[in-house]
Amino acid sequence: MRRSSRILWLGSMLLFMLVLSGCNSIQYEQPTLEDMGFVTVMGFDRAKGDKMTVITAVPQSSQQKEKTQFYSVQVSTSAEAIMNIATKSERTIVPNQMRVILFSEDFVKQKGITDVVLDLYRDPRVGDNVVLGVVKGKVMDLLQGKYENKPEMGVYLNNLLRPRRETAFYPFTTIHDYIYRTTGGTADPLLPYLENNSKEGDIEITKVALIKDGKLVGFLTPEEGRILQAASNRGKVPPMSYLIQDDPNSDKKVRVYLEFVRNSIRKRYVPIGKKPAFEIELGITGNLLNYEGNRDLEDATNLAVVEEKIAREMEKALKAVLMKTTKLGIDPTNMLEKMRAKTYGEWQGLTIKKGMKDIPVKINVQLRITGVGTLK
């Protein structure tokens, strides 16, 4: 390239750069990390008409103390909530760090949560591992309660609802799990039920909420939840406690307490002729840490008797839970998946669920006690 043409080329480039900069649109400043407000908890309460009250918890860290800002808006969709809250906050509100989504009991009963969860599932900024929960009363009251010596609300609720053996009586339902179960046509989602225990200054998971078509239809106690979880998934099961009739000459029942429980589960679809039927074989191993009876558990025969009695109690408990859930037309154990996997043609999940209470389920529990503690 000749020198003159090079100068011409460079000159015209400079001219274009200068002149064309006027065509640029206004560039809004990109927020820095400090300017961002990360929503950690989102709550949904019912409002008048079709609207809902959305509450968001946004942690604000200062040098002295961690604080949480709460914003509340009345909107029709969750996406609208983020948009409206942005106008109230001095920071850019983003849902990328969301960990917990809570719904008030009234909201789940009357309005249903599927649409809201679907909206959040659609938003790529929201993770799939965000946990869901149902709250007694209003979410706003629970979030704004005074909890002494507890970390920031988002961290506290996230830690409370994350999988732990002690609270494994409900299946730690995340957004993905909820959508998977709701759209799968076999299992139904379960959610933890939280109560504000204001006397003791903490939040407690008191029950398991049963969800059908996105709406709350009933509850399970933690005891019922434990045996149901044992019958749903393989792995570690929370500690269990049962009352057994140990002495045939006495009406008095004795309490047994199993710890470090592991289970194996086998669910089978075994139709009788054309009529559907299921078999559940539940194998449990664990340590018997508390036994209030008079038998000498060092003796293998006595131990086998106790094992048998506890196993029968477990069978009874599982049968009762399945009766309760099938009456409601829901399948929290994902038993129907075994049927779907063997059914040729289009899966008629809804129709089958309606008649679930009439499907016989044969339950067999085998218990093996691996230890009885260190005290004779």
């Binding site: 591992n129 993905h176 959508i179 759209t183 046509g185 998946e337």
Partner: protein, 378 residues
């Protein structure tokens, strides 16, 4: 780099060229593309692998009949100058469209997932710039970049572990409760994920061990089938049929399932790393497009590469109705892709009917280059 040596693609280059050109384009959405057959989808990649293998055989035969010529030269030799040039022009349009579509689709994903409030044109320019840089290094550098892309991203398969852990294995039980229409629709949609091997005849003259190349190409193909089957299996286990049908990028949601103690939202990391796969798909297409333009214009000039880049930029960037972009990037490029797969088979038949192939007396200019700095290398 690679100066003076005409045949430069070693077996492992061919292996990774085939594999990465395919994977970068289709892996993110293969499970979604296969959703018409629901949970029965995981055997379809195997089926499509067999089809691809069968198509590769005539391609290989054609390549062996004209070992010194690329597809564009063979076109002109067998179809005549003008018809050959016309077909080459169609190929050029297809290759530019695929190149633009691959970069555009990736950037759209990045914008949706990681940077929703940023404009994507600087990123687009960056990708075009890097692709150009790779292509300027010649086909060997393209192949080497494919190897790099493979090793940089293959370890991400470990993340499928979370999907398996949480999933329901009974979804895998084969019910075969699908009709032929569903299988056809799923195969048709998913076959786009297998495109990439059609470039074989463009770089065939550069392969060192041409006789054994079918083995190396097949190796690359079946690695792709293995990857697709693995992802498809995990998707079947982890998702419901509704999710498979409605999630555009199931692999993204499989990344979202990952829970590590030291880092959260690993999908952002995965999407960022995906750029290696995208580049290793885009670069071979850009290189092949440059060769096509050389053949159409009967000259080997570097400016052709820049013209293609400008065209791709305009295709990806210019405001156009969504339906038109969809037609261009999905429907038309899809059909042109099938054309590029079928034409070598027709050319083979034509070459069998005509007299046996003889080596070209005079190398067309598009191929007569050496890998010095004078033009696009390779």
């Amino acid at each position: 780099m690679d100066q003076g040596k005409y045949k430069k693609l070693n077996p492992y280059h061919v292996f990774f060229l085939i594999n990465n050109t395919m994977v970068g384009q289709g892996l993110l959405s293969i499970s979604h593309a296969l959703s018409p057959v629901g949970y029965n989808q995981y055997w379809i990649p195997f089926l499509l692998g067999v089809v691809t293998q069968l198509v590769l055989i005539p391609m290989y035969w054609l390549g062996m009949r004209y070992p010194e010529d690329n597809l564009y030269v063979i076109n002109e030799r067998l179809l005549g100058k003008w018809l050959g040039k016309l077909v080459n022009l169609v190929f050029l349009i297809y290759l530019i469209m695929v190149f633009a579509a691959v970069t555009h689709n990736y950037l759209r994903l990045v914008q949706a997932v990681t940077m929703p409030d940023r404009t994507m044109y600087p990123a687009l320019i960056a990708i075009l710039f890097v692709s150009c840089y790779i292509v300027l290094g010649g086909i060997k550098l393209v192949a080497r970049f494919c190897m790099l892309g493979f090793f940089f991203t293959a370890w991400m398969m470990v993340y499928l572990h979370w999907g398996i852990q949480k999933g329901e294995f009974s979804h895998m039980l084969p019910l075969f409760n699908v009709n032929m229409r569903d299988v056809w629709q799923a195969s048709y949609q998913a076959y786009e994920s297998f495109f990439g091997y059609e470039l074989l005849l463009v770089y065939f003259p550069y392969i060192v061990q041409q006789k054994r190349s079918l083995l190396h190409v097949s190796g690359g193909l079946w690695l792709t089938v293995l990857v697709y089957t693995g992802v498809s299996l995990v998707s079947v286990v982890y998702f419901s049929e509704w999710q498979l049908e409605n999630l555009r990028y199931p692999v993204l949601n499989l990344f979202k399932a990952v829970e590590l103690t030291f880092v959260e939202r690993i999908e952002n990391f995965g999407i960022a790393l995906w750029v290696f796969l995208v580049l290793s798909t885009a670069a071979p297409y850009l290189w092949a497009a440059k060769k096509a333009m050389d053949a159409v214009m009967s000259h080997n000039r570097r400016i052709h590469l820049y013209v293609i880049l400008v065209c791709a930029y305009l295709l990806a960037r210019v405001q156009m109705p969504t339906w038109l972009r969809q037609k261009l990037f999905e429907d038309w490029s899809f059909w042109l892709g099938y054309t590029m797969v079928v034409i070598p088979v027709l050319l083979l038949l034509l070459s069998l009917i005509r007299k046996p192939a003889t080596p070209a007396k005079e190398q067309p200019q598009a191929l007569a280059e050496t890998d010095d700095g004078g033009g696009t290398q390779g």
